[in-house]
Each structure stands twice: as structure tokens, then as C-alpha cells.
């Protein structure tokens, strides 16, 4: 009698365990299947198009080319022939510089515009006028002023990244609840305390949105800017491979740009989560 009960118990627990495992597997399946399906669709469409158009390499050909390319990403055969790793790093450096400068200028400006009505009204027409301009239109001005390609590219990144930071910071500052400002008034807080204890913590999430948008735009723009300026960088590399008619490398570059952009976004989202007070 007791033996049989124990046996039943054992069966029950193993059943439970397998069902738990099945549940986990199902969850994983649900999490994995739709994105995998989407990527497969992309590959399928790509394959079909490549079969119709003989100049466009298919996924398999590109894959082998990528393996070859990434087996030695950091070679250096002079200024016009560097490994893809160097090109990515060069682009990231430009984006980092331009973006850093934009943050240095844009965030304080956003605070001033959000805090003081006069500044807001003063800057509104200038911002509205300049913001819709394609960042690349600023490239000739950069070349003219800096007389060199690299600072001009950084300038273009700066000008494209600065608007989202100014605007999002300013919106955040202007949205600070009146209650908090009343507290500041009743406590008679100094402007410095208002900024550090009330505005900055409240605006931080808005600011991080601006930062994320900025880095997205900056990474979009760098490819185009480098195509025009030349030198080392992922954008120039794309253009160079087009001149070499190495279409596999262009497709690889598209994926690389996409993946790096995605990584930047993920990293910044994680940082933003860390800073949120809620």
C-alpha cells in the first residue's frame, strides 16, 4: 500500500517537473519564434531578389564573404585599405566626439530654454528654422570653417545630435509639476538647489530620451557624412567598396551599421533605466 503511494508520488513529481519544463520551453518558443520568423522572411526575400538580379549576391555568398572579412578585421595596408574594425572604430569615434559636444551644449541649453520664458521665445524661431535642415547641408560650412574633413564630419554629427537633446531637455523642464516648483518657492530654494534637487532628477528621463534619439540620428548621419568626406570610417568604406564593385561588402556594411546602431540603443536604454528614480 505505502509502496504504491510512494510510486504514485514519484510519478506525480516527475510529471510536474516535465510539465514545468514544457512550460519553460513553450515560453522560450514564444519568445524566439516570431523574431526568428521575421529574420527568415528577410533572408527569403533577399534570396528571391538576388536570384532575379545576378549582380546582387545572395545570403550564402555574403555569409562566406563576411567570415573572410571578419577573420582579420584589424589589418592596415595604408590609409585607403584598412580592416573593417578600424573603419567601425573611426566612425564610432567621430560619433562619440560629435555627440559628446552636442550633449555638452544641448543639455544646458535645454535647461535654460525650459526654465526661462525669454530664452524659450528667443530660441524658438532659430530652432524651428534650423532643425528641419538636413545635417548634410551643414557639411560644406564645416569644411569651409575647419578646412579639414574630420572636424567637418564631427561638426555634422554635432549639429544633427544637438536638436533632440535641446528639445527633449527643454520639454522636460517645462513639464516639471507646478507642485514641485511651489515647494521650491515656499522653501525659497536657490537656483542651484532648484536645478540639482528638482529640475535635474525630474528631467533626467526626458534627457535620456533626447540622448537616445540623438545617438540614433548621429549614427544615421555618420554613414552619409563619411561617404562625402572620405578617409577612414564605415561610410567611406561603403563608398570604397561600391567603387570596387564589392557588393557583398556593402551588404555586410549595412548589417554592421544596423547592429552597431542597435547596440548603442540597447546600452543607452539600460543606462536610462538605471537613472530612473521610479
Amino acid at each position: 500500500m505505502t509502496n504504491s503511494t510512494i510510486a504514485i508520488d514519484k510519478i506525480e513529481t516527475t510529471k510536474l517537473k516535465t510539465s514545468e519544463l514544457a512550460l519553460k520551453a513553450r515560453a522560450l518558443f514564444k519568445w524566439l519564434i516570431p523574431p526568428a520568423f521575421g529574420l527568415l522572411m528577410l533572408l527569403a526575400i533577399w534570396t528571391i531578389i538576388s536570384q532575379q538580379s545576378p549582380n546582387l549576391p545572395g545570403p550564402i555568398k555574403t555569409w562566406y564573404s563576411a567570415i573572410e572579412l571578419f577573420s582579420d578585421p584589424f589589418y592596415d595596408n595604408g590609409p585607403n585599405d584598412k580592416g573593417v574594425g578600424w573603419n567601425i572604430l573611426a566612425s564610432l569615434q567621430r560619433v562619440g566626439l560629435g555627440f559628446g559636444l552636442a550633449a555638452l551644449v544641448g543639455i544646458p541649453m535645454g535647461f535654460i530654454i525650459g526654465r526661462f520664458e525669454f530664452a524659450s521665445k528667443m530660441c524658438a524661431p532659430v530652432i524651428s528654422l534650423l532643425r528641419p535642415v538636413s545635417p548634410l547641408a551643414w557639411l560644406p560650412i564645416g569644411l569651409l570653417v575647419f578646412k579639414a574633413a574630420n572636424p567637418a564630419a564631427i561638426w555634422v554629427i554635432f549639429i544633427s545630435a544637438v536638436w533632440p537633446m535641446i528639445i527633449n531637455t527643454a520639454v522636460g523642464v517645462s513639464k516639471v509639476p507646478q507642485d514641485y516648483m511651489n515647494v521650491a518657492k515656499v522653501l525659497n530654494l536657490s537656483e542651484w538647489k532648484i536645478v540639482t534637487k528638482i529640475l535635474f532628477p525630474y528631467v533626467l528621463p526626458y534627457m535620456m530620451t533626447g540622448v537616445r534619439l540623438s545617438i540614433g540620428v548621429a549614427w544615421l548621419v555618420i554613414v552619409a557624412a563619411e561617404m562625402l568626406t572620405g578617409g577612414v570610417g564605415i561610410g567611406f568604406w561603403v563608398w570604397d567598396e561600391w567603387n570596387n564593385l564589392n557588393v557583398e561588402h556593402i551588404i555586410i556594411a549595412i548589417f554592421v551599421v544596423g547592429i552597431v546602431g542597435l547596440l548603442l540603443e540597447v546600452v543607452l536604454t539600460q543606462i536610462a533605466k538605471k537613472f530612473s528614480y521610479e
Binding site: 507642485d179 514641485y180 511651489n182 515647494v183 518657492k185 515656499v186 522653501l187 525659497n188 530654494l189 536657490s190 538647489k193 534637487k197 528638482i198 532628477p201 525630474y202 528614480y277 521610479e278
Partner: protein, 275 residues
């Protein structure tokens, strides 16, 4: 006490011929008209009226958050020109900064009033002692390192009171301080507030729409007529002995008489027309 001092103490907070007109998109709106009120030093005043009658506006005027269109406001013999820590406000929705702990919220106020650059110029240790004392006064020592979203509504409001009292204000302004709380928590906090006010002896003005709360806590109840152009309809003296006990008062004849006076004012003579 000589006559002048006595007169000053009788008119500790003074509202003189206040007119308040707001300019909105739809035109001008006369919220308050001909408000005259003298508040004695150490007195507890309640302002009661239907919602929208401008009672919070009166409080914001005393706080200095609003400036009157016409008329004058004085506090301790000086004209009220803007907000200041001598007139601390307990806000209806507590208005604690969510990214600071309870301690830090109170400390922010204490630091401003007594810290570097002030007359007292106290050290950090002294400031922290003050903050701890204020939090202990409202019985929240165990939660002082928690953030506002980790504590209950009643506790948040206590921190709000602690923050206001820690500034050692001349006048404590309470804007429907317990309006958002459940009845039991509200009763508890009312009792605590009575004890605290008895200890500190500071002047207080409270806006409320709760008749029992007004009578229980106040020395005088200011009843306001309905807006627009709201004004003071009647002022009721509450001559009930302190300390007051809500249970004993429930059976008290005088209390119930006062209560019905207020109710009659609110619901008979100045009933709010339901739109």
C-alpha cells in the same frame, strides 16, 4: 503687554480688502472680493466653503504664491511680498520630491532655513538633528530612509507636515491636508496635528471642506460664500476647551450646535447649485 504689542498680536496675519481677479482665455474671472480677515498669533483658523469658492486662493495669497489684484496682506507687521519659509505650506497632495527619501525631503527645507548662509548658520550635524527631530515628531523615524512611493498616503502627508514644521514657521498653512486620506487615517492625523499645534503654539490657517475637521481643530471657522466674487460670509468662534477629544465632543451640545451652524451656512444659505 502694552497696547501696541497687543494690537500686533491680534493682527498677526492681516488680509485687507483683498480682490483677486484671474485673467483666463475666456476673459477675466473675479474669484475673491472684499476679503478682510485678522488672524491672531497662535490662533488656528479654518477656511471652509464649497469647492471652487476660492478658499485655496486665499491660502495661496497668504503663502505668497499668488499676489492679490488689489488689497494688502501682512504677516507679523510686514507686507507679504512672496513666498517664504516663515509661512510653511502643507500641500494637499503632499508634494514630496519622489527621488528623495523622507529624510532628504525634510532636510532640504531644514538646510535652507537653518543651514549655511542663514542667520543661524548651523552645522551639518545640527541640521541632521533637526531633521530627525521633525520626523520623530510625526512618528516616522522608522521610515525616514524610505522614498515617498514606498510609504502610504497618510505617511506621506505626515512627512509633508514634518517638512513644514521643521522650518519653524511663524504661520503654518494647510491646504486640505487630509483631503486625500481615508476617514480613519484622517482622524488619526487630526488628533496628532492637534497635539503638535498645542506644543508648537504656531499660528495656522487650514483650508478644508470637512465640517467636523474644521470645528475640531479650529479656534475660528471662516465660512466663505460661493464664487464668483466669493467673500467671507460669516466667522464662527469655536469656544470649545482644549485639549479636545473627538469622542467626548460627539455628544457635546456646544459642538453639535456649532456643527449645525456651519451646515446651515453651507447647505441652506449658500447651497451650491448643482449644474
Amino acid at each position: 503687554m502694552d497696547k501696541l504689542e497687543k494690537a500686533n498680536a491680534d493682527r498677526y496675519v492681516q488680509l485687507e480688502n483683498i480682490e483677486m481677479t484671474f485673467t483666463t482665455k475666456k476673459g477675466t474671472f473675479n474669484a475673491l472680493s472684499n476679503i478682510n480677515l485678522n488672524i491672531k498669533e497662535g490662533e488656528f483658523i479654518s477656511i471652509i466653503g464649497h469647492s471652487g469658492c476660492g478658499k485655496s486662493t486665499v491660502l495661496n495669497l497668504i503663502a505668497g504664491l499668488l499676489a492679490p489684484t488689489e488689497g494688502f496682506l501682512f504677516c507679523a507687521g510686514r507686507e507679504i511680498a512672496g513666498p517664504g519659509p516663515e509661512r510653511a505650506v502643507v500641500f494637499q497632495n503632499h508634494s514630496l520630491l519622489p527621488w528623495l527619501t523622507c529624510f532628504e525631503n525634510v532636510y532640504l527645507a531644514v538646510e535652507r532655513v537653518f543651514g549655511p548662509g542663514s542667520v543661524d548658520n548651523e552645522t551639518k550635524v545640527q541640521l541632521e538633528t533637526r531633521t530627525h527631530a521633525a520626523i520623530a515628531l510625526v512618528g516616522l523615524t522608522h521610515s525616514s530612509d524610505k522614498r515617498p512611493n514606498e510609504i502610504s498616503g497618510g505617511m506621506k502627508q505626515r512627512v509633508g507636515i514634518a517638512r513644514a514644521l521643521a522650518m519653524e514657521p511663524k504661520v503654518l498653512l494647510l491646504d486640505e491636508p487630509f483631503g486625500a486620506l481615508d476617514a480613519l487615517t484622517r482622524a488619526n492625523l487630526q488628533d496628532e496635528l492637534m497635539k503638535i499645534m498645542a506644543k508648537s503654539g504656531c499660528t495656522a490657517v487650514m483650508v478644508t471642506h470637512d465640517v467636523d475637521e474644521a470645528i475640531l481643530l479650529s479656534d475660528r471657522v471662516v465660512m466663505m460664500t460661493n464664487g464668483p466674487s466669493a467673500t467671507i460670509g460669516e466667522i464662527l468662534e469655536v469656544n470649545l476647551a482644549r485639549p479636545r477629544d473627538r469622542l467626548a465632543l460627539a455628544e457635546d451640545h456646544d459642538y453639535n450646535h456649532l456643527r449645525s451652524e456651519v451646515l446651515r451656512f453651507l447647505y441652506e444659505r449658500h447651497a451650491k447649485k448643482v449644474a
